[in-house]
Amino acid sequence: MSKSLLGYKGSKPVLASVAVLTLIQTISIILQAKWLAESISALFAGHSLEQITTPVILFLFAFLIRILSGLFQQKIAYRFAETTSAAIRGQLMEQLFNLGPRFARIEGTGNLVTLVREGIGQFRTYLEIIIPRMIATGITPWLVLLFIFTQDVLSGLILLITMPILIAFMILIGYAARKQTEKQWHSYRILSNHFVDSLRGLETLKVLGRSKSHVKTIEDVSDRYRRATMKTLRVAFLSSFALDFFTMLSVASVAVSLGLRLIEGDMTLLTGLTVLILAPEYFLPIRMVGADYHATLNGKEAGAAIDKIIGTKPDQDNCSELSESYSWTGNSELMIQKLRVQHDQASKASLDQINLCLTGNKKVGIVGESGAGKSTLIDVLAGFLRPVDGEFILEGHMLNSLTCETWQKQTTYIPQHPYIFAGSLAENIRFYTPGASDEDVENAVEAAGLSPLVAKLPNGLHERIGNGGRPLSGGQEQRVALARAFLSNRPIILLDEPTAHLDIETEYELKKTMLPLFEGKLVCLATHRLHWMLEMDVIVVLDQGKVVEVGTHQELVAKQGFYYELLATQQEVL
């Protein structure tokens, strides 16, 4: 681990200064023990309080230095952990935007948010802990031991022998505990998830008439969960038992052996006391490592998960080909050649050998069975997804993907469930164009058919929507997305199944609102609601990742191919 610690920016001076502070701390630990022992043995020898003033003050001084140097170690490690984790968070966020919404859907929004918020926090804690602990275990016990050897060889030997025994036991027990957990991991997972599973499925249980009797199941499973957990804990806690047992036993052995040699008269009380006070200090660093074991483990795992995301470097795009002032017009042309999209090596290509030409302000319908690649194609066009293979020729420029900001700024993307941000209605509508005037926003509201809703809201355009605000229906969410599109008035609109989930009346009304928006723009609309196709200039039919037909509604109906087949299945009477 230390190797990768050194990899972080500015880690070397941090490690060096913590090491120096640890050295100072260790010396003060030894001196503190020495002066305390001196004070006690002086009193023991019958000296008065006044006579021990100097060692007592020195003891206090050494103690002060000890905790101060500990404090500064923490401070340095904390600051390093903070800057490092902030930098990593920045990289992680950039990477998330790089990998796009499809990646976020696969990984799960919740998981990613937890990773950025808590994962980074855990990683920071890990950095903060590991540096002082690592250095302390590397320095303190050995210096203390060295000093003890100069005082009393036998005690030194006892302590020295204990350490490997201790570590061997810890490894052994850790190994046993891991095997135990692995053995019952499977049933354990079900048991521990059972309760939340029950709560989430409560409504289903209720309508099945099973919710009342389920109380008994919850109690039974909770009990099994407890027994399973205890079985694991009995082994897992053994490691701290071993730590406790061997360190305490070792200190006790040192005490007894010191006692016996004091009786023999081979030793002074001062030496005995010094060694006795130092014995627990010898074990302290390793005990602290044990105490922080779980925090470091969590942080290490979080760090690995973050590394995995940051590490997947996407291919470079060659956006510089495109001038920043580029804009799509009625005469523009985008050639797509031999496009191939494959999510990973093992899976089938979701798009393969796609050749398409999108021109000017055409309305393009994209249809096909589910899994044919409709959404994937829209995602590629929106620049959310980099193709594995193929190229895009945009006005003579050869691009390897459409992930360019210049291209994305030409497009509006309307998915099935447009995301509503937590904020006011106006803020949501202004999302693409934060600087838009109030008047423009009101026009967009009007055009998107949101006026009746705005009139009903107590705060009008300033009503809070999204998470924590007023909930909107599916149709209203679409209208917010439409208002965004009207306001930004970008020349390309990409729609992915915009109305399939809505009730038919809402769909009908929305369609009437959408058609004027499509005027004078390049529109790509992927859907299985075939009524849209009557309004499209050209229809692209996909089947198993390939383009199988291209043409107008009439042409394709006359052809009696894939498209005809799709229409026909929707005609059958059930």
């Binding site: 309760f195 006790a252 009786i263 589910s370």
Partner: protein, 587 residues
């Protein structure tokens, strides 16, 4: 304090275990302290060079005993504590479930956003920590405090009081004082963290919009700036904690010196054996281990406040509907319920319903559903479809009119309603158990053959048999293998086993593509032939197979009739129908 109702009852319930934990915890600290105390005593006695080794025999035995006992006590204490807490967790889970169960049908509308149920389950899980990390250590420290003062008082009352003051500093004044000093900052930090969490969730959910907007880098820098603000607060709190620890450790050092001064004085006046000087000096450090962590433990308390607030809110439901309208135990005789399980004639007479005093959600609905009739309900969101379903289920009582099943008020069927009405939900939940168990939920007494028969009927048998362990395959291992349509089919199999005369279909095809939608509907209609169907739908596919189609708007029925009648009578209906199925020879 908030949430005490989620803490206090378990003290009474598990009093003996709690006392045992405190006893064992005290023994752990006592062992560690006694080891150093007796060691100090031992080497001092030895330094006096007794004639006979037997003179130090007792201290030697004690040192060896305490040297091993700490580990044992600590191990046992941790096990007992975790076992007890898992018992408490089990109690709390039962309790939370019993609170939520009667409201089950309302939970979705009451908690509109997010996975509140998951959060609640998590809250309870977190409450375990309040015992392990805060309550137990605090009580143990308090106990050790009393013990220490009494033990010292046995030697010297004044010195006991003097040390007592120092200890009170450590376990009362500093913890409470620092809690008071950091409370505002902690609250601020928590708020800041919630805001960050919200902002980030928003960003990840709306990732596509940020990318398209071309403002992604703007977002990242604004987010990093917010994080920095939170970090400033966090650093302040960490710094505060560090200096507090420094201060407390200095107190410990002074206690060491105080004990030196005191033992010296006592020895001088002959009231204390010389061998105890070292013993008293050495006992201080391990003893203080009991007191130092209290400030940290107490500081964690504000973290639980949100959890407590959420749990407390459950006990006093804000929604009047929920508290008054939940299902009650049935008041009907068994024969009535048994008969309704065979055959149910539903009738709605002038049914109206309003939430609170707002406009009517459902207004003057008349509907006759003799056994076997099939009706489709169509309307925009908010038209009153869901309310109508809840009225038929007896979950709501109509404000006017009557909903009757075989002439008896639906409400009176109470918890027996699932034996009369089955529901195919929009997103039925599949539980984390085997495929067979998921189907069996429809009827716990179903044999394996019956389950397989049901799977065959819903056309899933081939797919299930191809799974690695067939019907015994755990649901979560099937992963994404169950598509939306297949999940609905599992739910349909449940309903077949439930075998109720009436089935509600609550928009089961939303989110499915056209072909899947048609295939699923075909299976539904074929398998539920003799049942009464109440089908809330968003599309008109399959409308021809209904006996009646009802259009709802603002709680009222605005169009009704058979498919043929509506096609003939209403141009609006024609338009909608055509949109759903564009003709091959259109234009």
């Amino acid at each position: 304090m908030r949430g005490k109702e989620w803490i206090r009852p378990y003290f009474h319930q598990h009093l003996r275990s709690f006392l045992l934990i405190i006893f064992l915890g005290a023994c752990t600290i006592l062992s560690a302290s006694a080891l150093m105390f007796t060691s100090g005593d031992l080497i001092s006695k030895s330094a006096l060079r007794p004639e006979n080794i037997l003179m130090v025999y007792i201290p030697v035995v004690l040192v060896r005993t305490f040297g091993t006992s700490r580990a044992v006590f600590s191990y046992v204490e941790r096990l007992v504590a975790h076992n007890t807490i898992l018992h408490v967790l089990s109690n709390m889970r039962g309790r939370l479930y019993k609170i939520l169960e009667p409201q089950a049908l309302f939970v979705r509308s009451r908690f509109q956003t997010g996975d509140v149920l998951g959060v609640l389950a998590d809250d309870i899980e977190q409450l375990q920590n309040i015992y392990i990390r805060t309550i137990f250590p605090s009580i143990i420290a308090l106990f050790m405090f009393v013990l220490t003062v009494i033990a010292l008082g046995w030697f010297d009352l004044w010195f006991a009081l003097y040390i007592g003051l120092f200890l009170i500093m450590l376990i009362v004044i500093i913890p409470i004082g620092s809690l008071w000093m950091t409370k505002a900052k902690q609250a601020e930090l928590k708020q800041e963290k919630n805001r960050l969490y919200q902002k980030l969730t928003d960003a990840v959910m709306g990732l596509g919009d940020w990318m398209i907007s071309g403002r992604a880098s703007q977002f990242i820098s604004s987010y990093q700036l917010d994080e920095e603000n939170a970090t400033v607060l966090e650093s302040w709190l960490t710094r505060f904690g560090r200096w507090r620890m420094f201060f407390m450790q200095m107190i410990v050092a002074f206690v060491v010196v105080a004990s030196l001064v005191w033992t010296a004085g006592e020895y001088a006046t002959g009231q204390l054996s010389v061998t105890l000087i070292a013993a008293f000096a050495l006992v201080v450090f391990p003893l203080m281990d009991a007191f130092l962590p209290i400030s940290d433990a107490l500081e964690k308390l504000p973290r639980y406040e949100d959890s407590f607030a959420r749990l407390d809110a459950l006990d006093n439901p804000l929604d009047k509907q929920v508290s008054e309208q939940g299902a009650l135990p049935t008041k009907l005789e068994n024969e009535v319920v048994a008969k309704a399980h065979e055959k149910a004639n539903l009738s709605l007479e002038h049914v109206s319903f309003q939430y609170d005093s707002k406009e009517h959600a459902v207004l003057d609905i008349n509907l006759e559903l003799p056994q076997g009739k099939k009706v489709a309900i169509i309307g925009r969101s908010g038209a009153g479809k869901s309310t109508l379903l809840k009225l038929i289920q007896g979950a709501y009582t109509p404000t006017d009119g009557h909903v009757k099943i075989n002439g008896v008020d639906a409400k009176l069927y109470g918890e027996e309603i699932p034996s009369v009405i089955g529901v195919l939900q929009q997103s039925p939940y599949l539980f984390d158990t085997t495929v067979a168990n998921n189907i069996r939920l429809g009827n716990p007494n179903a044999s394996d053959d019956e389950i397989q028969a049901a799977a065959r009927q819903v056309k899933l048998s081939a797919m299930i048999e191809a799974l690695p362990n067939g019907y015994k395959t755990p649901m979560h291992e099937t992963g994404e293998r169950f598509s939306g349509g297949e999940r609905q089919r599992i739910a349909l199999a449940r309903i077949l086993l439930q075998n109720t005369p009436v089935v509600m279909l609550d928009e089961p095809t939303v989110g499915l593509d056209a072909r899947t939608e048609r295939n699923l509907l075909r299976t539904i209609f074929d398998t539920l032939q003799d049942k009464t169907l109440i089908w809330v739908t968003h599309h008109l596919v399959g409308a021809e197979r209904m006996d009646e189609i009802i259009f709802m708007e603002h709680g009222k029925i605005v169009m009704r009739g058979t498919h043929a009648e509506l096609m003939e009578k209403y141009p609006r209906y024609r338009q909608l129908y055509l949109m759903d199925a564009p003709c091959l020879e259109s234009e």
